[in-house]
Symmetry: C2
Subunit: 334 residues, 2 copies
């Protein structure tokens, strides 16, 4: 594992993206989003994922020159076409526009269709929260999860994000509808560990904590069993209906071929009903109520969603971003 | 178990509500919502729950004469004060207003504070869907669930509802953030059955399927463990911030004293980006993709959220609403 300064990571990724056809400014923003994701401790979706992103540029699924474009305007709601450009740049733009609509109308919504994987969903929750807005967004994905009662993968793990502004640290929930991602299953298996709770079915159809057995059956659990399954279905349905875009069943189930997905971005303006100070007091008090909760295990404490981010951000900024040596070598070779 | 015609149930409940201080028209609407909930098969939140609702009127937590009132208007967003009136009437009004705002602005939002339990959350999802709109709403509740990593109940089970319009049957997801409600735990225990999956912790802190052990520990699981816990936290936070109302930690944890809760109602207008026909084709195709999924058990099939409702509605309309005899006797005695 290398520790590389943030600015060096960003500059290196931006240079690679320029070689792949990105305009300089877009290369810089895209590189920054990857570097920030690693800086914030979401290692699965940051620099370590960069080569997979590069592969989707090389195979034509992501068009580096394509910019998102508004198609319909209807008051506080807009429908955008991502033109299959880089998913993180399009999502950033969509949340930026939802925030502007929310400032103007109290609530704003951008439905972004025909786009690509947005990488870390939490990015757009942080974006809204840092602008003083409540952000809610979700994406559909390729079919990667069996619905409750089903034996094959026909629904997506459709991450859902909430970002809530707070001066002492935004509260950001970033969660997929699967209980464990395939990446998490792989990590547990490689460490020789069992999952802490049931994570899927084995080949015989029994619930299991064995990560390898779940990888073999391709039957990970939706979070909350029937509940996460139902939520994944409605998130997909709403995103496809509002974008007039693709639903999960229409999306390729090969990861590097996944394209033309559908996303929703909502922004609520707390200042429209009171003052930012009031909103913050309310959010702080909820955080306090969690911190005061008696912990299940002595010495631990209940945390709010995203609580570790600022600590990891500080640590990784100070020590340099942790990047797998092999990944870094591949990036340098672009 | 009695089977009583819908109209008789509605008329009886309306008469009881008038005796308790409801104006005739409001008594009729409130009675209708209770009767419809039982008709649609949500027996826990319909007529069987009526006496608990009556108790909150008698103890002063619910003011039958109080009407919800708009406090702030800001474009597509409004903040309302429920004045601690009947929660189902206030929620119906709030979703009605969100729908009107959504028709006008593409997306509409009503934040309803200082209100009371809305009974069946799905009611407002159906309301939006039947108006051709996508409805999203949630409520906070009294503290009734330990957060992930916590040993005491400091978060709410905060139901979240999505309603999606579809001529052949709206898709309505109505789910609380607990994996099993206390009512469900009680039902399993009384039938002498174990839960189908882990539902909470026993007194020793181990995950268990034993409903009685969970009732004793007061530690049911959030759905999806850390995921449902995090979602409950942000739903509560957003509702309190946008209503300037109470968060879960401020609400009494005695069920019949629970009052002054906070709710959010969002409505999205699919016709703003296309046509109702297009939206419906998209929703239908998602439903089809679920129905075509290979089932985990031969002979079963994957269902969409709310799929059983229309069948139960038809059956209960035809045979009469199933109401516990004891409950019915109590209602007749009001």
């Amino acid at each position: 594992m290398n520790r590389i300064p943030f600015d060096e990571v960003k500059k290196t990724l931006a240079g690679a993206l320029e070689k792949l056809g990105f305009a300089p400014e877009r290369a810089e923003t895209c590189a920054q989003l990857f570097a920030e994701t690693t800086r914030d401790g979401v290692y699965t979706h940051g620099v370590n994922r960069f080569m997979r992103f590069v592969e989707t540029i090389r195979n034509g699924r992501v068009n580096p020159a394509a910019e998102p474009e508004v198609v319909n305007r209807y008051g506080a709601l807009e429908r955008w076409d991502g033109h299959r450009g880089p998913g993180n740049l399009a999502a950033l733009k969509a949340m930026e526009r939802a925030i502007a609509l929310g400032r103007e109308h109290g609530v704003g919504c951008v439905a972004l269709g025909n786009t690509n994987h947005w990488m870390r969903g939490g990015t757009y929750g942080w974006q809204a929260a840092e602008a003083g807005m409540i952000g809610i967004c979700w994406t559909n994905t390729m079919p990667n999860l069996p619905p409750w009662g089903g034996a094959e993968r026909v629904i997506g793990n459709n991450p859902l994000i909430f970002g809530v502004p707070r001066a002492s640290g935004p509260v950001v929930l970033d969660m997929a509808m699967s209980q464990f991602s395939y990446g998490a299953l792989e990590s547990y298996r490689k460490r020789g560990e069992m999952l802490p709770v049931d994570g899927g079915f084995d080949a015989a159809g029994n619930l299991t904590r064995d990560p390898g057995a779940i990888e073999e059956s391709w039957r990970p659990l939706p979070m909350g069993y029937w509940k996460g399954s139902g939520l994944a279905v409605v998130l997909d349905m709403v995103a496809a209906m509002m974008t007039l875009g693709q639903a999960t069943w229409q999306i390729s189930s090969v990861a590097v071929h996944e394209t033309a997905i559908s996303q929703m971005f909502l922004a609520l303006n707390p200042a429209a009903v009171g003052s930012p100070q009031e909103a913050e007091r309310i959010a702080d008090a909820v955080v306090d109520s969690l911190h005061k909760c008696k912990p299940a295990k002595a010495g631990s404490r209940v945390r709010y969603p995203g609580e570790e981010t600022l600590r990891l951000r500080e640590e990784n900024t100070r020590l340099g971003l942790p990047v797998e040596a092999e990944v870094w070598a591949e990036i340098l070779a672009i």
